[in-house]
């Protein structure tokens, strides 16, 4: 399956809408995910980011509009193939665990790919080290600390070379180390030519790591462009979307304001 590997725009959402229980959660959202790019998604609580991610990954069906992968609508893809291409990290790490131990959790998708047991062991060990979960391999995923759960759920998805990775708030609850490591891990994936989508509330990270940012408000796309120019949009605009520019951008604006006077 090599078709479309060089595709610069692997995933595209076109006028996607979704409603549930009579409430429109996502309305007519259109944007594209590009290869080699780290796309940040931001927006208020309850704006519809997580729902949008579920739509992009094909776990939910849009009530209108379509999502297409390599130009082919998601519904036309075979389930197994789709999952090999799109990885997905849920907002609640516990929702993603399918096995009883940390070790098995990391080995799960490796085993599905029929790696030899020694190969699996090697890879799992290196993941354990990379995500600082050593000594926890026999624990149940549910008895980890919240931050460890988050790292485990990310690690389990990183173990695959999926072309598109959708992450819902991958860094929350992490200490400085872990968060930076996670983000640079994701950045490295993007630099390798893969597509990464990160939902986050951390504007410093958006500033530092993202190539492009999409702002969701009330279920529709409000802004789509580089982070730098987002900060220079009117204050009212940012305020309504619950965004606070990173501290450096704030200072820059303050300086420029002074210069203008």
């Amino acid at each position: 399956m090599n078709a479309g590997l060089g595709d610069p725009v692997p995933l595209r959402a076109e006028k996607v809408s979704f409603s549930r229980g009579g409430r429109v959660i996502v309305q007519e959202a259109s944007f594209s995910v590009r290869a080699g790019e780290l796309l940040a998604v931001a927006g208020r609580n309850g704006a519809g980011k997580s729902t949008l991610m579920a739509l992009l990954s094909g776990l939910l069906m849009p009530s209108s509009g379509s999502v297409s992968l390599h130009g082919k609508p998601l519904t036309a893809w075979k389930e197994a193939e789709l999952r090999r291409k799109i990885g997905c990290i849920f907002q609640h790490p516990e929702h993603q665990f399918v096995t009883d131990t940390v070790y098995d959790e990391l080995a799960y998708s490796l085993r599905l790919q029929h790696f030899s047991e020694t190969e699996v062991d090697n890879r799992v060990r290196s993941l354990l080290a990379q995500f600082r979960l050593e000594g926890r391999e026999r624990y149940s995923p549910f008895s980890l600390s919240q931050g460890q759960k988050r790292r485990l759920s990310v690690a389990a998805m990183m173990s695959d070379e999926r072309q598109i990775l959708l992450c819902d708030e991958p860094t929350y609850g992490q200490d400085a180390y872990a968060a930076k490591e996670l983000m640079s891990g994701l950045r490295a994936r993007a630099d390798m030519g893969l597509a990464v989508v990160v939902i986050t509330h951390d504007m410093e990270f958006v500033q530092e790591y993202a190539d492009r940012v999409v702002v969701i408000n009330n279920g529709s796309v409000d802004y789509d462009g580089p982070p730098g120019s987002l900060w220079s949009s009117p204050e009212q605009f940012l305020k309504e979307r619950g965004l606070i520019p990173p501290i450096a951008a704030q200072m820059l604006q303050a300086l420029e304001g002074e210069r203008a006077c």
């Binding site: 009883d100 131990t101 624990y139």
Partner: protein, 186 residues
Amino acid sequence: MKKSIFQFNTRTVVTIGIGAALYGATSFIGIPVGPDTSLRPAIALLAIFGALFGPVVGFIAGLIGHVLNDLLTSGTVWWGWALGSGITAAFMGLIYLAKGFDPQNGSFKGKHIGLFIVYGIVGIVLSLLFSGWFDIAFMGEPSDKLVVQVTAASISNIIVFLVLGVPAVIGFAKRNAKTSHLSVNE
């Protein structure tokens, strides 16, 4: 860590609530295998709740679950059968008192399996006899029909217990054996 069976804290009560709700809800499901008899997977739940939380929790969960189900399906409670559900669970829960038995921490040995099966079968037969007797004594049901009913129900319940209940408890114990970090080394 196993707790005393008479400890009644909020957690026990919530467990009873869940057990009862699950038992009540799954009691609707039955695969009819003959006149007046059906394989009720719900019996397996009694085995699980009894084994994991002891006879007292099992008894109350079974009783309340049965009463709820009766109320929802027919509006009348067949107390004999409701108590019977509780007694079944209580007998299955006797295994909880066995030494070294602790499926929540993955400790479930061969001799426990044997014991569990014995307790379960005895419990099923005894409770059905009790329900039958209760019906004859208090509800004025004719006795000849009940003999057939009790025998058929015993057989079908024992089948469910052996095919679903016992493996489920073993599955639980296995699952937890791996998760509790040190007991794997034994």
